[in-house]
Amino acid sequence: MSVVFYLIAGLSVAGALAAVLLKNTVHCALAVTVAFAGLALMFLELDAQFAGFAQILIYIGAVAILVVFAILLTRGSDTPTDTVFSKKPIVGLVTAAGIFAIFGWAILHSAQFLPHQTATPSVTVMDIGNALMGRYVLPLEIVALLLTAALIGAVIVAMHEKAGAK
């Protein structure tokens, strides 16, 4: 495994750990942005350039800003008075550790069946465009409908209530 992979993986995992463990909510949001950036770099390392740039554009350019705005609008950046973890964090930790153990066991035990280095796929944006308009046109239209519904729904849910209604 190359040094680049270890660096990028370390960056992503460090960002994710910081996002989960830090006390200040805005620091958590910025740390998860670092994790998103690390993941985008991993996509680029895996020769998926379109997915990597889409990850940067959507997650860092939009979702991170959305999270930060939500934190500011809900006064999450005030320092918390008591602990930031729930009353029995051990349950969540044990669950997560158990799931990681299961995944790790499955991955390492099936390592001999996994394929090895294959040739670099040369995928151009034109191929992606043809696929989106050809084979995947139905998911594309459904995602468009879903995004429109989510847009309208989010606006309605977060809108200030009118003066008359209560």
Binding site: A19, V20, Y59, A97, I99, G104, H116, V123, L147
Partner: protein, 103 residues
């Protein structure tokens, strides 16, 4: 070690960290951050299998990951809209205090 194994282990680790965050933090927005980490880990899994699997020219893994990114962004938007709306009612985002059905 197989390069694919490395990527799958990193994805599993990120998923576990996201799950731990979603289950243990009190702030609703941090739970959403944990959910976004889990979705990202799944995307990494998809792209890794696309790259090292048979038939990468069919673009299945990449397409799946792109749709997953789009849907996750929409879900984050709606989720955060809900959190803001709840905050407007109860003036808190602490999940431990939202233990009554009545608003």
């Amino acid at each position: 070690m197989n390069p694919l194994t490395g990527y799958l282990l990193v994805a599993a680790l990120l998923f576990a960290i996201g799950l731990a965050g979603a289950l243990t933090r009190r702030n609703a927005i941090l739970v959403l951050i944990g959910i976004e980490l889990m979705l990202n880990a799944a995307n990494l899994n998809l792209i890794a299998f696309w790259r090292y699997g048979p038939h990468p020219e069919a673009l299945t893994g990449m397409m799946f990951a792109i749709f997953s990114i789009a849907v996750a962004a929409a879900e984050a938007a709606v989720g955060l809209g809900l959190v803001i709306s709840i905050h407007r009612h109860t003036h808190t985002t602490d999940l431990d205090e939202m233990n009554r059905m009545k608003g």
